[in-house]
Amino acid sequence: MPEQIAQTASVAIREPFESAVNRLVSRRFPGVGQVGNLARLSGGASQETWSFDILDGNDWRRVILRRAPTGYSATFASAGLPTEARLIELAGKSGVPSPRVLHVLRPEDELGDGFLMDYVNGETIPRKILRDALYAEIRPRLAFELGKILARIHAMAGAGLQTLREITAPAAIQELHLAYRADGCPRPVFELAFRWLQGQALLRSEAVTLVHGDFRNGNLIVGPEGVRAVLDWELAHFGDPMEDLGWLCVNSWRFGNIDKPVGGFGQLSELIAGYESAGGRTVDPRRVILWQTLGTLRWGVICLGMLARYESGKDRSIERAMIARRASEAEIDLLRIIAPRA
């Protein structure tokens, strides 16, 4: 394995990214003459998202490239880009709104790990989805619709997912605790939340299914008629299906609509009704709230991790530094759940 990484890394240095994209397009889409508008959309140090247009006959068509530059290995918790591509394909077949995967990168593409998929037009910015008039009609139905989508995700099965790890509550709490301790800064509220979660018997899993791992407002492409695509399967794993329902309800993804727990869209009862209507298991709302609490703590620990990322020099953006100062929002949200004031 190290040999392979070393080899592809040297190729990446020799060949500029743009010409590699051009060669890939001419191989993968014979007859396509031109590539234009190559632009980086987002991504951190380990994963990048690019968009570009290809001239297909007389029509320009937009394509998305998700890639990890060669030499960057995925973290132990991430699915890895080839598996992400497989998940998107499986999701599409399972009735989960998904883009079409066009190509999974091979070594001869000289672009590292990753895949090409169709660009899906629509809105991803949470505040716009929650506020713009364009989405006024769909908003009240989204909690129910997201429930249906989650039920389909949790029923997904198929070849190619063997590499995904399995992790349920006791281990997930322990892993999070290690990450918290690594930060080194003492946080009594987090400490109390860990204690509280460790004592919750209802967090024990009744079932283990595929879990998306980051299903929230911000990882959805939405149009005026509904959800057009579910994005970002990087944290997919096998685990407790209630993890996804709880994560969707974390206060930080409500963007101010705190009286609508499900992503700022609607009530938990609507999410559960959608989930059960599409074949999901019967949901105990108490378990969703426990997973929401664990999710809130997870978000807090992720915020702490931003400081380490910033200090390492890998990402020196002010944005990164400022997210570290959002750990306190997790603290107030945790207190509101475990020690609410009268």
Binding site: R187, L192, G256, S317, R325, S328, E331, R336
Partner: protein, 135 residues
């Protein structure tokens, strides 16, 4: 004693410059980053105003709770250890009052517009002024 403008005034001056002059000339990613820079400067200004008083209050509460003196980090570490051991827990009203007070002080600097903070602030006011305060 240093002369004025003081740090708060200078930081606010830079934030105002970014807001009034730089932001209108920016688009896309750069405009986004300038907004974050303005937010960061505003956070710094709030912390400069509040930090001394907040840290004093937090330390006093911790000293009372733990029955000893020490630095803020030191005292917080000990409180964490006691919580982890189960020596203090959710049933301890003094602990809960301390955690709420500290968290509210942090949010007032970090993110005073956070909806949960605003709701809890209203709750504070309600508790301080009684039910008749309808403004």
């Amino acid at each position: 004693m240093q002369d004025r403008p003081n740090p708060v005034e200078l930081v606010k001056a830079v934030a105002n410059f970014l807001q009034a002059t730089v932001l209108p000339q920016s688009t896309g990613r750069q405009a986004f980053e300038i907004r974050i820079a303005i937010n960061a400067l505003e956070l710094v200004a709030r912390q400069l105003v509040h930090a001394d008083e907040d840290h004093c209050a937090e330390r006093e509460r911790l000293e009372e709770l733990l029955g000893r003196t020490g630095s803020l980090t030191d005292l917080n570490q000990e409180l964490c250890a006691r919580i982890a051991q189960g020596a203090v827990d959710l049933t301890d009203e003094r602990l809960i009052r301390h955690l709420w007070a500290t968290t509210m002080e942090k949010l007032a600097v970090d993110q005073p517009s956070y909806a949960a903070f605003r709701e809890e602030q209203l709750r504070n006011r309600g508790a301080n002024h009684g039910l008749q305060s309808s403004t």
